[in-house]
């Protein structure tokens, strides 16, 4: 979450709760609602590393709030994050380990494992379908996130089929 907060602060200084709202508004319904405690912990670490600084702003009838802003070092860190290539997703290998190892022990046969996994993936896909149809079509960021998850799941299913062809 560190670079995400840096990016939001590069736009304008903000306090913790504003950052939470900005994340929710930008990513829409597809984003797991960020935990405010986690945001404050992350801001504290960024400040300790000199990537952000904070000032206390007085409020009438309320305790002071801390407004965070980006430092030059923070801006450099953000630029580095944007410019470095992003790692591709790792193959989700938990199931593959089961598939390769379980039959050796006689606990399960591969065909049964693959069949169960295929239905599980389709259940997940059904959830994503429901999620997409419940998402405002104008919310392109949320829509694209869900479509991305669907495409990954499709790849998992295609791979499952390859495993079935070669191993089962």
């Amino acid at each position: 979450m560190r670079p995400h907060l840096l990016a939001l602060l590069a736009k304008e200084p903000a306090h913790g709760y504003e950052l939470k709202q900005a994340l929710e508004q930008t990513f829409g319904s597809a984003y797991p609602s960020p935990n405010i405690g986690q945001i404050y912990v992350t801001l504290g670490r960024l400040e300790k590393d000199g990537l952000v600084r904070s000032v206390d702003v007085e409020q009438s009838n309320r305790p002071n709030k801390k407004v965070y802003y980006l430092t030059a070092k923070g801006r450099d860190a953000l630029t580095a994050w944007v410019e470095e290539p992003t790692e591709g997703p790792r193959v989700r290998d938990e199931f593959f380990m089961k598939l390769v190892l379980a039959p050796l022990t006689g606990i399960a046969d591969r065909m049964a494992l693959i069949s169960r996994q295929r239905r599980h993936y389709l259940s997940l896909m059904a959830d994503l379908n429901d999620l997409l149809s419940g998402t405002d079509p104008r919310d392109r960021v949320a829509g694209l996130l869900i479509e991305g998850a669907m495409l990954h799941l499709q790849a998992d299913l295609d791979w499952l089929e390859r495993c079935q062809e070669d191993l089962a």
Partner: protein, 242 residues
């Protein structure tokens, strides 16, 4: 609930070549009224052959096929063809629309052939095309449509005669995500209205609309079970952004 479609120990062996090739090796399947069954499996597992046999487009080598309580595998080719007009809707990866007829006529024709009144056929056509966002293309010729639009017309046509069962073989095989979305929406809707569907697909989005998944491997059913809905409702459980 009664079985709309039933296969008993269904076998297909292609014997044209040097060696006979078993494509379907003893499939038992019962599809209840209103059920949506997805059929998946690697290529060469017999999915397409199975669905073609169920619709009478390919002959069985042995076994039985029952449609709406009537045994159909023993029917003559023409008797099968007549029955199919009334009771079966087909949609394939390649759409086969009649080129010199308008979109509207392509969709109405199977309904008229099935004996539905012209008025009802027109209403049915209008609602199907509207559901697929094709209402304004009714008077176009198929050649004027994009591939995705033609495939949507093919789906509308397959549903025009209110078939007892809709059989589909990779109906979204050539579609981009936008066209797929319209097809998904219509399939979801007609299924909710009670349409029985048996569909071969590699597309997990389409398959996940089904109630039940049948997995084929080497011409046999290796898995047959329900696709459960968890209804978590929150995106956070499926999407993990770091």
């Amino acid at each position: 609930m009664s079985a709309v479609l039933k296969a008993v120990n269904l076998v297909k062996i292609y014997s044209g070549g040097a060696l006979p090739v078993p494509a379907v090796r003893g499939v038992d399947l019962e599809v209840e009224e209103g059920e949506f069954v997805a059929v998946m499996g690697p290529s060469g597992s017999g999915k397409s052959t199975l669905v073609h046999m169920l619709g009478g487009l390919d002959t069985r080598t042995s076994g039985e096929i029952w449609l709406d309580g009537k045994r159909v595998d023993t029917l003559s080719e023409s008797a099968w063809a007549l029955l199919r007009r009334e009771k079966v809707g087909f949609v394939f990866q390649f759409f086969n629309l009649v080129a010199n007829m308008t979109v509207a006529d392509n969709v109405e024709l199977p309904a008229l052939l099935a004996g539905i009144s012209p008025k009802e056929a027109r209403e049915r056509r209008e609602s199907l095309l509207a559901a697929l966002n094709l209402g304004d293309r009714a008077d176009a010729a198929p050649a004027q449509l994009s591939g995705g639009e033609q495939q949507r017309v093919a789906l509308a046509r397959a549903l025009a005669n209110k078939p007892s069962v809709l059989l589909a073989d990779e109906p979204t095989g050539n579609l981009d995500s936008r066209n797929t979305r319209d097809v998904l929406r219509l399939l979801g809707e007609v299924h909710k209205q009670g349409q029985t569907i048996v569909m071969v697909t590699h597309d997990a989005r389409v398959a996940s609309l089904a109630d039940r998944l049948v997995s084929l491997f080497d011409g046999q059913i290796v898995d047959d079970g329900r696709i459960t809905r968890r209804r978590t409702g929150t995106a956070g459980e499926v999407i993990d952004l770091r």
